[in-house]
Symmetry: C2
Subunit: 421 residues, 2 copies
C-alpha cells in the first residue's frame, strides 16, 4: 500500500476491493481474541507460582503477619518498596493489592480534605492535568471525583512542559497524572529535564500534587534499561518535597489484582496519609506482603524475575513492531511507538481512522481498547490513536490479530480516502 | 468486698490499704499483656495454616483468579458469602481483606454522592445513630467523615428502638451502625422484634441506611446458637429493600487483616455500588477468595472450623465470667454481660470508675481498651464501661490479667468512695 492520498479514485476502489476481500477472509476465521487490556498471559502467571510455597509468616520485629496491626506495612516490605522507589522506608507505605485504589484514596482525600497545604481541592473548581495518550483509569478517577480533565500532549521525553508550566498558573489546576517510565501507552520515559521542571515549577495551588505512577519501574523489554530521575529527590531539592505521591505495585510482577502496592511520599505526607487511612483501614494484607518480599528477596531477585517476564513479552513486542514496519513503513500518515519496556504500544492511524479500525477488528473477533480511551473523556482530538496491548494473547494468536489490525488500518484509511475523494 | 457504700470511713481506709497492697504485688510482677483489641491468639491463627496449601486458582466459569477482572468476586465466593449472609449471590459482592474498609467506602460514597434515593448525605447536616456500647471503629468512620454521632443505648435485645424510631424522624439522621449478632462489645443479639422495627420504621431521610455488620455471624461460644433475622428479607417485606447494607468478613475465621470480606444489599444497591467501586478498584484479590472458599468449602465446613475456635476461646470467656462472679457477685454496682458468642465482654464498673480502673491496669502492665472507647466520641456518660477482649492472651496470662482487673475495679471503687466520704 502506498499513501491513499496519491491514488486516484479508481486505484482507491481497486485497493478497497482487495483489502475488503482479505478482510472477509479474516472474518471467516471466527477469531476471538482480547487485546483490550494490559493483562499478563498465563505463562507469565505461572512464573510466580513458587511464591505460594512461602509458609513462614513471622516477620521482623516479632510481627506476626497473620494478625491485625502494622498499618504502614511489614518492615521488610517497606524496605523492599523503598529500594524500588528510591525512597526511605519511613517514606514508604506498603498497602493492599492495588496501587490504583491507593491513587483513588489520595485523590478522594485531596478533594474532600486536602493535604497539608490546603483545605481540600473540592472547595472550588478542580482541574487535573492528563498527559495523553495516557492511562484511562487515571483519568477516570479524576473525572469521577468531579475534576475537569485537561489534555496535555505527551512527547517522547514526557508531557509538554511548556504547556504544563502555563496551566499550573491556574489555582484550579490541582495535579498531574504521570507514568514516568515506559509510559502507558506510549512506552516513553520522562527525560531528566522534564522531571526537574515538574519538580521545580511554580504552581498557583500550594497543594499541587504529582501522582507519580511508576507502574513499569522494572518492566524492561531490552538490554538497555531506561531510567527516570527520582521525583521525590528532585522535588526536595526544589523545596517542593510535599508535591509528589509515588505509587507502584507488583501486579505485573506476580499476580495482577492479587499482589502488593506501595505509596511513597515525604515524611510529612506519609504521617498525614497514615492518619487519614486509619479510619478506613485496620491493616493491609501483610501475609501477602511477606510472601512477595520473601520470594522476590531484593532488587536483584526482582530483576532476575523480571528477565523471565521479558523472555515472554519481548518477542511479542518485536513481532508487532516488525509487522507494523512491514505494513506501514512507507506510509507517512501512520506511526507507532517503539517501547523499550512497559506493556503497550501506541499506534497512530491516519487522522479519524482509529474508531473504524477498532470496529473492523471487533467485527472480525479481535477486541482492542476502544479508540480514544487513552485520552481525557475518551476523546482523541485526532481520532488516530489505538493502544496495543501485546501481553495476553499467545504469540501465534497475536500474529493473526496484528495482521488483521494492519489490514483494518489500511481498510479504514482507504474508506476515508474514498469518502473524501 | 461488700458495697463500698455500706462501709464507714475507717473500714474504707482499711479496705483501700488491703487492696493497695495486693495491687502493688501485681505491679511487682512486671506484667506485659494486651487485652485492648479483639485479636485472635496464635493458636487460633494456626488453625488456618492448612488453607495456604491450596494451589489451584482456576475458578468456575473459566475465571483465572490470578489475573485481573471480575470485580464482583469469584462466583464460588459470592455463593459462599451469600449462604453466610442469607442473600442471593447476585446480591453479594466479595471484596478485599477488610469489611471495615468497605463500610468506610459506603459511608464516604453516601456522604459524597448518596445512594439511589438521595443526592448525598453530605449536602446538609448528617447525623448517625450509634448504639452504645458499640464498635469504636464504626463510630470513628462516621465522625471522620463529618457526621454527628448520636448515642442510642444498647439493650439485651438490641438498640433502644423507641429512641431510634423517634430520632429517624429527623431528616439529618442518615443511618445506624448495627452489630446484630453477639454484638461488639456486649455480645447481645438483636431480637426479631428489633430487626422488624428497624426494617419497617419510617425514616425522614429516604436514603437512610442500616450498616449491618454481621461480624460474628458464626462465632458461637456455646452449644446454643443465637440467630438473628435476615435484615434484607425483613426490609424487603416492609418495602424498604434498599435500606440495609450487610457486611461480614472471615477475619476472625482465618487470618485477621488477610482474609476476605463481603458486602450484600438489594440488587439495585449492588449495581449502584459496583458502578461506584469501578473508578477505584480494578478487581479484588480473587486468589485469596478462592483459597478461603476451597478451604472452608461451605457452611458446614465453616461451622466445623468455628468449633475449633470455640474450643480455644470458650474456656477464656468462662474463666473470666467465673472470676467476675466470684469477685463482684455481691456488688450491685458492678455488672457484666455473659455472651454466647462473639469476641468481647462488657464490664460495667461503679459509675465513674472505668477510667481509673483502666489506668490502674495499665500501670501494672495490662493494656485494656481505653475507657469510653465503646461510646460515641469516646465518652461513656456513666464512666463505667470497660470492653474486655479475652481472645489474645493465653489462658494463664488472662487469669492473671483478670485477677488484676478485678482488683483494679475494687480499688477504683474504694478510691471513689473515699473521695466521696
Amino acid at each position: 500500500m502506498t499513501d491513499g492520498i496519491s491514488m486516484n479514485r479508481q486505484q482507491l476502489e481497486q485497493e478497497h476491493q482487495t483489502l475488503r476481500t482479505q478482510y472477509e477472509a479474516f472474518v471467516q476465521k471466527g477469531l476471538r481474541l482480547d487485546m483490550s487490556r494490559g493483562k499478563p498471559c498465563t505463562e507469565q502467571l505461572e512464573l510466580s507460582m513458587p511464591m505460594l510455597q512461602i509458609c513462614d509468616y513471622m516477620g521482623e520485629e516479632g510481627i506476626d503477619a497473620r494478625n491485625y496491626g502494622t498499618l504502614e506495612g511489614m518492615p521488610e516490605a517497606r524496605r523492599f518498596f523503598a529500594d524500588l522507589l528510591g525512597t526511605a522506608p519511613e517514606e514508604t507505605l506498603v498497602c493492599g493489592s492495588s496501587s490504583l485504589t491507593m491513587m483513588y484514596h489520595m485523590a478522594e482525600l485531596a478533594m474532600r480534605k486536602g493535604f497539608c497545604e490546603s483545605e481540600g481541592w473540592g472547595k472550588g473548581q478542580s482541574k487535573f492535568l492528563c498527559p495523553a495518550p495516557g492511562y484511562d483509569r487515571h483519568f477516570r478517577i479524576a473525572e469521577y471525583l468531579g475534576m475537569e480533565l485537561l489534555l496535555v500532549p505527551m512527547h517522547e521525553d514526557g508531557p509538554d512542559m511548556d504547556l504544563v508550566e502555563r496551566l499550573v498558573q491556574d489555582p484550579a489546576v490541582k495535579g498531574i497524572w504521570c507514568v514516568p517510565k515506559y509510559s502507558n501507552p506510549d512506552g516513553y520515559t520522562y527525560s531528566d529535564a522534564v522531571v526537574r521542571r515538574l519538580a521545580a515549577m511554580k504552581t498557583a495551588e500550594p497543594d499541587f500534587k504529582i501522582f507519580w505512577d511508576n507502574a513499569y519501574a522494572v518492566h524492561h523489554l531490552c538490554d538497555e534499561h531506561e531510567e527516570v530521575l527520582n521525583i521525590l529527590d528532585e522535588c526536595r531539592k526544589a523545596g517542593n518535597e510535599n508535591r509528589p505521591l509515588l505509587f507502584t505495585s507488583l501486579s505485573k510482577v506476580t499476580f495482577p489484582g492479587a499482589s502488593v502496592a506501595a505509596l511513597a511520599a515525604s515524611k510529612a505526607n506519609i504521617e498525614y496519609i497514615k492518619a487519614n487511612l486509619m479510619p478506613a483501614v485496620i491493616s493491609y494484607d501483610k501475609m501477602n506482603q511477606l510472601r512477595h518480599v520473601r520470594y522476590l528477596k531484593d532488587m536483584q531477585g526482582l530483576a532476575a524475575h523480571m528477565e523471565k517476564h521479558r523472555a515472554i513479552l519481548a518477542p511479542k513486542f518485536e513481532m508487532i513492531l516488525n509487522k507494523f514496519g512491514a505494513a506501514f513503513g512507507e506510509n507517512s500518515e501512520i506511526r507507532w511507538t517503539k517501547p523499550k519496556g512497559g506493556y503497550f504500544i501506541s499506534l497512530f492511524t491516519p487522522k479519524g481512522c482509529a474508531a473504524r479500525t477498532v470496529e473492523l477488528c471487533a467485527k472480525a473477533g479481535v477486541t482492542l481498547t476502544p479508540a480514544g480511551a487513552a485520552f481525557p473523556y475518551g476523546k482523541d482530538p485526532d481520532g488516530s490513536h489505538i493502544r496495543i496491548a501485546p501481553s495476553y494473547p499467545t504469540l501465534s494468536e497475536l500474529e493473526t490479530a496484528v495482521e488483521l489490525l494492519c489490514l483494518a488500518v489500511k481498510l479504514a484509511a482507504v474508506e476515508k480516502s474514498l469518502a473524501e475523494a
